[in-house]
Symmetry: C2
DNA sequence: GAATAATATGACACCGATGACATACCTGCC
DNA sequence: GGCAGGTATGTCATCGGTGTCATATTATTC
């Protein structure tokens, strides 16, 4: 059986409380005792039980990540970023997939907090905007940080990128290339980022003096199939767009596939842009022009805010980056209006 | 403050032990008391503290997943499969990324077990074959199940697919199409599956009476870039292969990109096959013929073995499936030897 | 009807740490 | 010399449950 604090205290000839003091680096321990305790700890290869600590103390040294996202790449980045920060902090990470729309969400979150006593929670989109979850967390007084929340920004600390600006940048890039008819594929309506990206697209058109044409804007669900469907509709138009900007890479992949199927050359006959810079983006043919979302860094920053936070909401905005690859180019004929 | 078992016992007018019995569905509780307790629980919205349970009892109702895998899709599938089973069991899941080659692996695993008291551990490749981790688990007596282990099969329960058979099937498919010169890209040397897939490839050639040509076999690392590099080498050969079988989809994507870059038509001039059936496979152009690895089901089964196991190693093998898409076809000229 | 077994309930210690508080020992200062 | 205040250490209750054991009640058997 593993050594407990009692074994250590016996071996060192001190009280368990003194051992506890040494363990936690408290003041008021003489150098002599500190040394004896440390030697006993080393000798017994003693590991304090996290469980007992939680029960007795205040901190659990565990945080939870609540997510509901169907992009493995995104979650992986998020998880990796958080984990990196946790490692530095000596904190464990509990993964909690969930369903942002579930009527049980509040209960699930409540159970998570009550049962595990996590010190804090990180929410990723779209759970960031599930009011049931937020209410449950507020009620229980659990600190939480949101990654890319869409609404209610004052409610908690958060990290985010500027989705509108990014979409604006990409759209402007296409306009600069000479495109005048730019299709846009909306993201999943549950994600607030979808709306922001759409707004950025529209703002860029507006600034360039191009009219916003609803027929060039199609709904999407952030998945491959919806990208295909949207592309089919757009390319069936009497005067199809010369460029299509999809709200994420998966949908852009769908656009590419439709184009290949129709024998449309990319980027000569059609420019395609995505969003996220997932691994997929560089593995497609042609490699996708897209927006690099600093996902891992966002996650890392979120964990930092959680650890260092003092209750006052802080917002951190991280910069995105346009990644220009070969799926975009000037349209074949610049004379088109 | 949250209700505790004491509040419930007071509200129901019974001892805490009786509440505990009801909570755990133990025998020997009268219907009347059970009802009173259940009502009190409902009324107070009582959630037993997992932490206290762990400390007092034997089970922690937590398991951990230790992984070190650079494929987000794979991990996501694994995590989802395990989570599904955990949900049924009311068990929480701790995610523990790690580095299979790290000299600290044994310590990390030891700390994980000691500190969290997880009931068991699931290992995914390649940590499945990191002897430091296995030794640490054995020493601490922690039950564990491995997903697709490569070595030492008798050592623990495990779930796996038949990698050799799958690669054999795919190779046989290419041979049946008429291919005689089939390139092969090896997987990451750390993963034992790599070796098995290669063996399956070779066995299929052998059975068909085709000679095994080392020049058609290139190393790879399971990533896109190594797929590109291997494809370039293969296609530069004086007599290049008419088909390339990559040990996973990412590398197959690399092959497709090289082919596109060189203007090689797929599948007319070159057939390409992958392995795993990741999301990527169906999002590429042309969609990839590949092997569907039952990752999620493997993970689910692994969790089941962990929960239901009684210490006796059990091995479960799940069936794979050939997914035929449009990246493979008969070679242009069947006359080639 | 007494002995035995099965059922039902509670008292209490305990899991392994930390928190609150008590106590003892030094210093330094009036 | 006595007292305040910082330093060092220990005692004991406590966190919120479960395990063990004792005991009371009811059912079964001969």
């Amino acid at each position: 059986m593993r050594a407990t604090i009692k074994d250590v205290s016996a071996a060192a000839g001190v009280s368990t409380k003194t051992v506890s003091r040494v363990l936690n680096g408290e003041r008021y321990v003489s150098e002599a005792l500190r040394l004896r305790v440390e030697m006993a700890v080393a000798q017994l290869d003693f590991q304090p039980s996290a469980v007992a600590r939680i029960l007795a103390g205040k901190r659990s040294n565990q945080i939870a990540l609540i997510y509901d996202n169907h992009s493995p790449h995104y979650i992986h980045q998020i998880q990796t970023g958080i984990w990196e920060r946790c490692l530095e902090q000596g904190v464990r990470l509990l993964a909690q997939p969930s369903d942002a729309g579930s009527p049980n969400l509040a209960r699930e979150v409540g159970e998570l907090i009550d049962q595990t006593r996590v010190d804090g929670v990180i929410l990723s989109s779209p759970v960031t905007d599930a009011s049931a979850a937020l209410e449950a967390l507020d009620k229980l007084g659990a600190p939480y940080v949101r990654i890319s929340p869409g609404t209610d920004h004052g409610r908690s600390s958060s990290v985010s990128m500027d989705d509108a600006k990014a979409a604006d940048d990409m759209t402007s890039h296409l306009i600069a290339l000479g495109h005048r008819r730019i299709g846009f594929i909306f993201g999943h309506p549950n994600h607030t980022a979808s709306d922001l990206r759409h707004f950025g697209y529209r703002r860029a058109l507006d600034r360039a003096g191009l009219s916003y044409e609803p027929k060039y804007v199609r709904p999407g669900l952030f998945d491959f199939a919806s990208g295909e469907a949207a592309a089919d509709t757009l390319l069936d138009l009497p005067v199809p767009p010369t460029a299509i900007f999809a709200s994420n890479d998966d949908m852009a992949a769908g656009v590419l596939t439709v184009a290949h199927r129709r024998g449309i050359a990319i980027p000569q006959d059609l420019s395609v842009a995505g969003f996220d810079d997932t691994a997929l983006a560089s593995q497609l043919w042609p490699p996708l022009t897209t927006v690099r979302q600093p996902t891992r860094q966002l996650a890392y920053a979120a964990a930092s805010l959680l650890f260092d936070g003092d209750g006052v909401p802080v917002h951190r905005r991280l910069p995105h980056e346009l990644v220009l690859r070969s799926s975009t180019a000037a349209p074949r004929s610049r004379s088109e209006a």
